[in-house]
Structure formats: structure tokens, C-alpha cells
Symmetry: C2
Subunit: 213 residues, 2 copies
């Protein structure tokens, strides 16, 4: 998830997530959509927030569903937890630092994040197909998604400003397929919910993630 103007310092009030924080409210909801199921977390999923706003871009915050602790579903507490990552000094070269259990921060931009996701590091990252969620749907719609994504996919989505040309190029250079989720353009957090549902119904969810029934 690319936050085109998400603040990269912990200098915003938690009362103003949609304004001064550069849409950290949306990033928090993406975390909720990616990781929460009823009474459980999706242990097989991780979300990377690529933060490109001032004052110190780029930063990348990775949240592991398998490892994260003390994550609650509301926006304020989610941002309070994740934004601790913005206070840490970061090593050059893109290495990660763990800011709280299961939350990792680094200097990676989108390209470096994609490279890390494509690397063979099955414990932490997917090494399957890259899928750009985009309303143009150049390579198909939601019916194609489970098959086109394949095992262990990485989905990429922009915020309300979408992705820039350089970012699109980085994705295309890595062979990303571009899929839409239907005829209505949705918020990023809602797109993540739809993707999970498509994969759940296609049988991609491991038993550990299954709730009620």
C-alpha cells in the first residue's frame, strides 16, 4: 500500500489522522482490512505501508500478521502502535528495524519493497506473482484474480491519488498483472477486503485463518 503523502515522522496529533498526518487514517484501515478477521488475525498475511510524505521519505512499515502484537481494530490505536516506527533511527541500505513485535521499518521505497517481496524469504515475504489493483483492469477483473494471483501473491495498491508513472513502470518491469475488482472504484482499504474475500472463496485461506463456521 503506497501512502503518497503519509507523514514519515511521528509529529502529527492522533486527532488529525486524515489531515495533518497525510491520510494515516486510510493506512490504519488498510492494516485492519489486511489483517483482521472475526476474533482473529490473518496469520498468513502481511502488509507493507510505503510512506512517501514529508519530512523524511521514503520509509516502509511492514506489519506481519503472524508476529504482530497489541494490534487493535480502531484507527487511533493502530496508528499509535505503527507510528512508533517513525521515531527510530534507520540504517542505510534498506535493512529493517523492529519497532514493536511484528512491526518492521526501513528506508525502502516502492521498488525496494517490491524487490524484498520478490526475494526468496518465505518466512517474511511472498515470492509469487505481483498484482496491481487498478481500476483500468488491463489484464482482467475479479473473476480472474485467484488464478492470476497464484500462490503467495503480492498485491500493490495506491491511495486516493493513485500510483505515479515511475511506480507503474517499476511494477510493469517486474511483470505485474493489472486487475480490477469490479465496475466501481473503491477506497484502498475496501479493495483489500474484496481481494481477501475472493481468495478465501477460492480456497486460498489456510485453516488457521478461518473463523466462525
Amino acid at each position: 500500500m503506497v501512502g503518497s503523502r503519509a507523514r514519515t515522522a511521528r509529529d502529527f496529533p492522533l486527532d488529525d489522522l486524515a489531515g495533518g498526518a497525510g491520510r494515516w487514517d486510510l493506512l490504519a484501515r488498510c492494516v485492519q482490512s489486511a489483517l483482521f478477521v472475526s476474533h482473529d488475525l490473518r496469520r498468513d498475511t502481511e502488509l507493507v505501508l510505503v510512506l512517501l510524505g514529508p519530512p523524511s521519505p521514503p520509509k516502509s512499515v511492514r506489519v506481519s500478521g503472524a508476529l504482530v502484537q497489541r494490534l487493535n481494530p480502531d484507527e487511533r490505536s493502530t496508528v499509535a502502535l505503527l507510528s512508533r516506527a517513525l521515531e527510530l533511527p534507520l540504517p542505510p541500505g534498506g535493512s529493517e528495524v523492529e519497532s514493536s513485535p511484528g512491526v518492521f521499518v526501513s528506508r525502502r521505497d516502492l521498488s525496494a519493497t517490491l524487490d524484498a517481496a520478490g526475494a526468496s524469504d518465505p518466512g517474511a515475504h511472498g515470492d509469487g506473482r505481483m498484482v496491481l489493483l487498478d481500476e483500468s483492469g488491463r489484464h482482467g477483473g475479479p473473476d480472474r484474480l485467484p488464478e492470476a494471483a497464484g500462490p503467495d501473491p503480492t498485491f500493490v495498491i495506491g491511495d486516493d491519488r493513485g500510483l505515479g508513472e515511475g511506480q507503474m513502470d517499476a511494477l510493469r518491469a517486474r511483470g505485474a498483472v493489472e486487475l480490477s475488482l469490479g465496475p466501481v472504484s473503491l477506497h484502498a482499504d475496501h479493495c483489500i477486503v474484496v481481494v481477501h474475500n475472493l481468495l478465501d472463496r477460492a480456497g486460498a485461506a489456510p485453516p488457521g485463518a478461518v473463523g466462525g463456521r
Copy 2:
């Protein structure tokens, strides 16, 4: 949407939506899921929050996608706007009072809300099928939803505590069909996103609600 312990007075801090407010954070996300698309609102949708928590239940807050104003997508500002409805004196008998443009509050419980939704009042309420979103899926799964819902449906969903027996009886007495959304039990706000996507893809979305492509 039934908020089984949602506060019915405006006496909670906006910093504690998931705690003292009785899960008003979840209600706010349900509003976001029901009404927001990219750069627009779903003008053909309305959401009713049935509030059953202390100190003064029941109350029902109806948000009209066609009429609501000053609604932003973050939890805090959404609750700040909607909870103004909790400060108003309410007439007996279930009549509604408008607390801000497109936001209406009444003394209705779930049964009275269902009766109002079933009444022929096309400007404000659906008069079609009632659908209970429930992980048991007694009458089918997501593939059946668009057809089973038919035109102008009313969807009913509980919070993390689910619906009580009396509420289930009220729904069954009104002929509700019980559908699941897939094999994984989801948060209520995420269920609403999936329902919209299923209906959007089935062609139920009017042109006015269509975003990007």
C-alpha cells in the same frame, strides 16, 4: 447494523471509541464501508445503526447516502458527526428527528427498524427482501447473494457479539434469507464491503455511483 453495546448518549471521549464508546469505532467503519466509494458516496445506499448500549437504548441512527453532508472517511470525524444525534430529545413512537443533513435518529429497536425498512417509503427505505448476513449461511453463500437479495434489499448484520435469539426471530418472522459471504468469518464493516462488491459486479449499481473507469 446492530451495535449490541454501542453507547446511546454522547458522553464518551472520541479518543476511546473502541472502549468506553461501546465499539463506536466499528459503527464508524460500517458507515464508511456502506457509503464511501472512491471520490464519491453511494447515493443509493443508506445505513441504519441500531444502538442497544447504555444509558438509553434503543436508539436508531439512519444515514442517507443521498442526503448526508460533511461526512469524512475517518472514524473520529464520523463519530463526531453521527453522535450529535445522541444529544437530541426523541419523540415516543419511533418518529425520526434529523440531527444533521441526512442523519436521522429515533427510538426504534431492530424490529421497528425492520418495519420501517419494509414500509413503502422508497425515498428513504428499501421495500425489498431482507437478508441476514450470517456465517451459518443457511440459505446459501455469496454466489447466491445478488439473486437472493433482489432489487432494493435490506441487509442485516450484527457486531462482534452477533444477534440475539429475539433478534433472529424478528428477522425470520419477516422472511429474511440467511446468507454467508464465504468460508472466513469477517468483521461487520468488511462484510458490507463484500456485499457492495457482489452487487456492483452483478450490475446493481446505478451509474451515479460509479467511480473511476
